[in-house]
């Protein structure tokens, strides 16, 4: 088991390296350059600009830039921002906790809401509860987050004054953004859990459990749900990518710290070291979480454990 995890991790490293290459290439072909984003070109002479560009090393040929870049990646050297020379790693480190908190809280909300609605909906299949639960889930999928976020701010901060609109310290500031982001995930999880539950409820062993005289509650939650969790957990692994991406918008709307905030700016400013750092980081997180998901399978589902060992 431990071996399997190590192996998975090592093979993931390849994926992470691959994604850093991808990032480099994508950014390389991006038009515009970092220098133009640092200055007001109407006030600076072309020579000065060329000079600055040279200092930053963005005027060298592709291959040369790539090898330097890749060398740094291998050395785990995150480098400095081209725009303001700020070291990237500490920058990510300061932003990361807030993003982590946000995605974690949002995942939690997704999972709780998704599970509750999904289970209700499966148990009361085709009854009004089911239809309502599915609609709520779909609503989560179909509202642009920047819009639902602003609506939440207006309702809960401005009119009701219950929760802060902005900030990234304290649980109160986490509520609105996490709900906004969580609703998105919840929508997907509801669908997933509902289908999985329906499938499990059709399995023969459910009849066995009932035939043993078990309480309906324990049939549903102890047995059926645990079986249905597997696809839901998989979903969560995939959703995490979406959530990380969702932070770009959410963190802007709620003015939170977070890597979503830096990445959008950095991409547009072609601030390669920052973009690379963030993507590398989120790739690592993505890989780690999916690893975690795989490990948690083994806890939920012994069948998987056997294949791995």
């Amino acid at each position: 088991m431990v071996n399997a995890i190590v192996v998975r991790f090592i093979s993931s490293l390849g994926v992470i390296l691959g994604s850093s290459v991808l990032v480099f290439c994508v950014l390389y072909v991006l038009p515009g350059d970092v220098v133009m984003n640092m200055i007001d070109p109407s006030t600076m002479s072309p020579e000065a600009i060329a000079n600055l560009r040279h200092q930053l090393g963005v005027d060298r040929p592709f291959l040369e830039q790539f090898t330097t870049y890749f060398g740094h990646v291998l050395a785990l050297d995150f480098g400095k921002s081209l725009v303001n020379s700020e070291p990237v790693l500490p920058k990510i480190m300061t932003h990361f906790p807030a993003t982590l908190a946000l995605t974690a809280a949002a995942s939690l909300i997704s999972v709780i809401v998704g599970l509750v609605l999904g289970v209700l909906s499966a148990i009361h299949r085709n009854k009004p509860i089911d239809i309502i639960a599915r609609m709520v889930g779909l609503f989560g999928i179909s509202m642009p987050t920047f819009w639902s976020g602003i609506l939440l701010i207006l309702l809960f901060s401005v009119f009701l004054g219950w929760l802060p609109a902005i900030g990234s310290s304290g649980w109160q500031t986490l509520v609105l953004p996490a709900v906004t982001l969580g609703m998105l995930g919840a929508g997907f999880i509801v669908r997933m859990v509902r289908n999985a539950m329906l499938e499990v409820l059709g399995e023969a062993f459910i009849t066995t459990l009932r035939a043993k005289g078990l309480l309906e509650r324990s049939v549903m939650y102890r047995h059926a749900l645990r079986n249905a969790l597997i696809p839901a957990v998989t979903m969560l692994g995939i959703l995490l990518g979406e959530m990380l991406a969702g932070t770009v918008v959410i963190e802007t709307v709620f003015s939170r710290q977070g890597i979503g905030r830096i990445i959008a700016d950095a991409i547009m400013a072609k601030d390669l070291p920052v973009v690379q750092g963030v993507i590398l980081f989120s790739a690592i997180i993505y890989v780690l979480v999916n690893l975690l998901v795989d490990i948690s399978y083994a806890y939920i589902d012994p069948r998987v454990r056997r294949v791995q060992s």
Binding site: A204, L209, L215, R226
Partner: protein
């Protein structure tokens, strides 16, 4: 003596897409304490529904009990509040299901699932005590190392073991009534014998009543005190086992009994088959539900349904119950009038032996599958699915292949058709090495070798029309198109006994037996020389089985086919095959002419196999000659003779040395150091 369970006028309905469907109606029967009652009948006849209704489990599947009462002792189960119902389930009535693998929750250990049941019904028991109790129960049902097994997950045990564990779990509440719904259907014959033996013992030990549901009359004959026959949601006959087998009082029972292929079935005669198929529950015929298939039906039968009436301690629902002939008196010809089967030719045995040329020859064919392994572990494990098998199939003969699940029969079949490449060894078809053929040549060659699959549902594309499915070979081999194709397909449909109108319909609109006919029509479309039938009738009901076998025999004669017939219903294989090969764990261990193999099995395994077959004759008191133990894993087979771990006659030599295949009689080969002979 008052009955332990009495069911009276039970009717069950299901809500299906806002329609109601009456699944069973007017079900009345009772079970005495300590009695084994068998519920028999073909697929869809309502056996499971009846059994689930007894515990009111159908309520969870959109079903409702619409009429009648179910009484367990003095308790009226039909009106019991949920709370009390739950404490009755698993405590006074317990249940065992067909697929042991599917009946356990895969994500909990066996132990936790058993202790859960124990503690559900007796809150005072501590977790520890429950665990000890569970271990005791496992011990009782014959599972070695029970403590260890408790910690294992369902997926880690074999089917036979799981079924034992299931029985242990059912026993945990010390039930008065055990309902077993096809508890052995998914198991191999040798394991089936073990389980049936166990049930017998348990009955006498605990004085339990058992309601055993089966479609295998052999099983019923061996187990039952009393037998209830169901047809299309109703009971058609009920009587003591012996009476039922000797003097059936319903034409359906009579038909069922006659459809069974036994060791005594005359290979030169076509099998008896009840014509037609079971009606769907939503288009039942008027009057007696069996009348469209009944040779004795009269106008009365089409009008009015006969009630289940008691006569001389047995019940039957037939207007003419008394006039039915004795089973032993009936000539076949009288009964088969409804079926279109021609006589099967008597094989000219001398001829086939001397002159027959080989059509297919296997030389040291081996197939190893890699076992999924982690990246790091260097040594790859292999499943030895087929190991060094050589034999020949002669032109015109039917070669039977038997063996328990996982012994490599299907794999061998696939290798033979070159649907997979063997790991080593060669397959010759008409003396041509299939392994050397190019892709397109091989595809050409496929015209001559066709296959019929076990699963009539899975083997046809659900999105294709029947006509296109059967016509696919024409399309593939650039043959007939358009009208010509349609005509050919319609001819084929007629040939396999289907309505040509089926052309434009979809597979799901057909019953299992009909779908199998579709599969057969496709297989013979191009007039192949060789036909592989891999468990082609295993999934079908007895009455349909007989129809399909007759059809195959008929086609074989007409089209001059050579066949490889894989099956686990040994009587059926005996009936169709000229010679039979027996496989065990990837090895071919015995080949003999069909009669010879059954009369004088030379290998201990073959012998055990033959002995394990339940015989549908309650008079022939059976001593379960079950061989002990489980089939070892093909990834890690025993050294020497692979059967030695279960062989009653194993010696030291068997472990050390692999037995060679040798001839022990005319055409009779066996791989055993000291065969019975």
């Amino acid at each position: 003596m008052s009955a332990l369970l009495s069911v009276d006028q039970l009717g069950v309905e299901f809500a299906v897409n806002r329609n109601v469907m009456q699944a069973v109606s007017d079900i009345s029967f009772s079970i005495q304490a300590g009695e084994i009652v068998c519920l028999v009948g073909e697929s869809g006849s309502g056996k499971s529904v009846t059994s689930k209704a007894i515990m009111r489990l159908i309520e969870h599947e959109n079903g409702t009990i619409t009429s009648g009462t179910i009484k367990l002792g003095d308790v009226d189960v039909t009106t019991l509040p949920q709370q009390e119902l739950r404490s009755l389930r698993g405590k006074r009535i317990a249940m065992v299901f067909q697929e042991p693998m599917a009946a356990f929750d895969p994500v909990f250990t066996i132990g936790s699932q058993i202790t859960e049941t124990i503690r559900r019904h007796d809150r005072r028991i501590t977790a520890r005590e429950a665990e000890e109790e569970a271990a005791r129960l496992l011990q009782r049902v014959g599972i070695p190392e029970p403590k260890l097994r408790l910690k294992q997950y369902p997926g880690e045990l074999s089917g036979g073991m799981l079924q034992r564990a299931m029985i242990a779990m059912a026993l945990s509440g010390k039930p008065e009534l055990l309902i077993a719904d096809e508890p052995t259907t998914a198991l191999d014959v040798t394991i089936q014998a073990q389980i049936l033996q166990l049930l017998h013992e348990l009955r006498s030990e605990f004085n339990m009543s058992i309601l055993l549901i089966t479609h295998d009359l052999g099983v019923a004959a061996e187990m039952a005190d009393r037998i209830i026959v169901m047809y299309a949601g109703q009971i058609v006959e009920e009587s003591a086992a012996v009476d039922l087998f000797t003097q059936p009082r319903h034409p359906y029972t009579l038909g069922l009994l006659r459809s069974i292929t036994t060791l005594d079935s005359d290979r030169s005669q076509p099998l008896y088959a009840i014509p037609g198929s079971i009606p769907g529950m939503n288009n039942l015929p008027s009057g007696c539900r069996f009348h469209p298939r009944c040779a004795y039906a009269t106008e009365l039968c089409t009008r009015e349904a006969p009630a289940l009436e008691e006569k001389g301690g047995r019940q039957s629902a037939c207007w003419y119950a008394d006039q039915l002939p004795e089973l032993r008196d009936t000539g076949v010809s009288e009964l088969v009038s409804g079926v279109e089967v021609r006589e099967r030719p008597v094989l000219d045995e001398d001829n086939s032996k001397q002159e027959a040329v080989s059509l297919i020859e296997l030389r040291h064919v081996t197939k190893h599958y890699p076992l999924k392994s982690s990246f790091l572990s260097r040594d790859r494990k292999w499943i030895q699915a087929v190991d060094d098998v050589s034999f020949t199939i002669r032109k015109g003969e039917t070669f039977g292949l038997v063996g328990e699940s996982g012994s490599g029969k299907s794999t061998l079949g696939r290798l033979l058709l070159h649907l997979e490449k063997p790991t080593s060894g060669t397959v010759l078809f008409e003396n041509q090495d299939l392994g050397t053929l190019s892709g397109s040549m091989l595809r050409q060659q496929r015209k001559d070798m066709q296959m019929i699959f076990q699963d009539p549902h899975g083997s046809v594309d659900p999105r294709w029309k029947v006509g296109d499915i059967i016509g696919e070979p024409f399309a593939v081999h650039g043959g007939r198109k358009g009208k010509e194709k349609r005509e050919s397909v319609e001819t084929l449909l007629r040939l396999v006994g289907l309505d040509p109108k089926a052309y434009d319909r979809y597979p799901h609109e057909f019953s299992g037996g009909q779908r199998q006919r579709i599969g057969i029509a496709r297989a013979i479309a191009l007039g192949p020389k060789f036909l592989l039938a891999d468990e082609a009738v295993s999934a079908l009901d007895v009455s349909v089985q007989a129809q399909i076998i007759n059809l195959l025999q008929e086609l074989r004669k007409q089209l001059d086919l050579t066949m490889l017939f894989i099956g686990h219903g040994l009587h059926v294989v005996r009936y169709v095959s000229d010679r039979i090969g027996v496989m065990y764990l990837g090895k071919l261990i015995e080949i003999a002419p069909s009669e010879q193999l059954f009369r004088h099995p030379a290998h201990p395994y073959t012998r055990a196999l033959v002995a394990s077959i339940p015989v549908p004759d309650p008079l022939r008191q059976h001593s379960f000659q079950a061989i002990e133990g489980e089939i070892p894993s093909p990834a890690n087979p025993p050294s020497g003779c692979r059967f030695r771990t279960r062989c009653p006659a194993a010696t030291v030599r068997c472990a050390a040395e692999e037995p060679q295949f040798r001839e022990v009689g005319q055409e009779h080969f066996v791989a055993c150091h000291d065969p019975y002979f």
